[in-house]
Amino acid sequence: MDTFLENSLFRNIYCNLASASENCAARGYGDALLPDGLQWLAFTLTGVAIIGLVVNAILMGVLGFIWFERRVFARFQNRVGPNRWGPFGLLTPVADAIKTMFKEDVAPEDSDRFLYNLAPVLMVVPLLVVFAVIPFGIGTFVADLNVGILFILAVTTMSGLAIVMAAWASGNRLSIFSGLRAVALLISYEIPMALSILGVLMISGSLALGRIVESQNVPFILVQPMGFLVFFLASLAEMNRTPFDLTEAESELAAGYLNDYSSMKFGLFFLAEFMAALAGAAVITTLFLSGWRGWEPVPSQVWFFLKMGGVLFVIIWIRFTWPRLRIDQMLAFAWKGLFELTLVNLTLAAILIAVWPQPTTTQLWMMAAINWPVFFASIWIIGKVMGVRPHQIDRTAMGALYPVATDEPAPASEASEQ
């Protein structure tokens, strides 16, 4: 019980519901709503309340994020963005949601109905579960798992499976392309993603997200630039965002695995897509941007959401600036670029940890000072090795077939011959 009561979210609900048990009394809680002997009911109700709270908060967050993304990318494109429903168009996602719900739910004849219906659910659930372990502020979390980051890596893999499932069950050939790509991406990007956070884990010495945040006297983005870059790019790939949105690839596969989904099943995929961005931003904030840590008197939760908003902005910024990579380039990028970068990062982190086993703040700054030059050097080397060179336009080689351009018009006879 004590472990539960350390969670402020749980404690505040539970201790106000249950009668003044010893644990609550010790923390200064007085009278309770429920009579004595109903602690089990209070426990259950608290659990349900927390689940309801978090799930609804996430759904509202998704609505907010949809609005945020549409407004922001409209500005990137010199437009105004949705501004008709509600102030600043804030109710536009609500209108979208209502419209999606009332669409006819069509399933293709050739589809595998069971998998077809299961896939959207399987897409959304893991992403909801991710939020369970993320500390949003001091004492504000659903569960502080001691293997939190491992848990996140494990459950997010499910969404790749859901894409394959949806692609296969639709019975659509364009969808199958999307499914194949999803498998390739899943296998390739899980590895650099998992390896990139090893450096973080080494320095903080824990898998629990709360502990990782506490150990970030210096944000790990400064200490671990390579780890951050790889994790950021790999999570972009995991959440199917440009430049890695190959599974959806609007200009190639129409909508990829979403081709045959309609109504709220499509809505769930849509939800999952935005939820993935939120979850990715939350994890990046926790691991690399020192989570809820900030300066008083602004509450820790506010700091967390501010940082998360910053990460989301960068994600949107990238999405609407960079084009998409091709599948072979993407896999090459994962295996030849990111994988090497993580290995460099890992070796360096191991050496540094061997020198300073329990780094203090000063030692963290020194680690950062060593990491950044290595970061630039390795990026430069990898770029040299795997890059495609832009054309060097050779004016003398032009007109191999016909004369090189001159300012005088060609003689009439020559023109008529050709």
Binding site: R75, F76, V80, P87, T321, W322, I379, G383, G387, V388
Partner: protein, 221 residues
Amino acid sequence: MTGLNLLRALFVTMKNFVRAPFTVQYPDRRVGLVGAAKAEGKSPLGLIRNNPKRAIKAMAMLATVPEKVPQNKRFRGNEFTWLETRCTGCASCAKYCPLGIIEIVTHPGGIDVQEGESYGIDVFDIDIGRCMFCGLCVEACPYDALHMGATFERSTYTRAGLVIPVDELRAAPKTPSSWFRPQFEERGFNPFEEQVENHHEAGRHEQPTPEELRQRWVNQR
């Protein structure tokens, strides 16, 4: 190949992020308090005092101000302007329409306003559902009776509603576009602010003599 140009691309989009949007929010534009006050020609405080309801709405970014699309005077719109007093019912427009969408039924002996005899118009229907707004009918009109409209807002829910009947053409505000009508441009006629009061204003400056007319109609065409 080190990603520097990707960062440069991000910089370009950021430059556009801070630039003002170029969207024209037709037909109305969402405004804040300042915009709403400006539209009514008041100061923001004045708006709060005079019209608190609208001021609150504006502060919640819910107030709208009508906005027009910037148009040019030569715009070929779908609200045709037809001056019956100039029309002789010669049906040149119907003849030169590439799609044949102008239907004219006349009877002999109409009102004689111009030189020579003219026909009385019974039917003058333009089916703008099939119109491609090439303006050849206007180009073909020898008496400057038919003009393209300067605006484009004549839309309906049915196809039948897209036929402009003669009564509507008669009653419509006379706001001709200056497409193929240099006389409007010469005197600076603005169809978005004023109307043609008098059918004499719509004509070209020189009135053709009967001899010229014969030259034009018999010898050349």
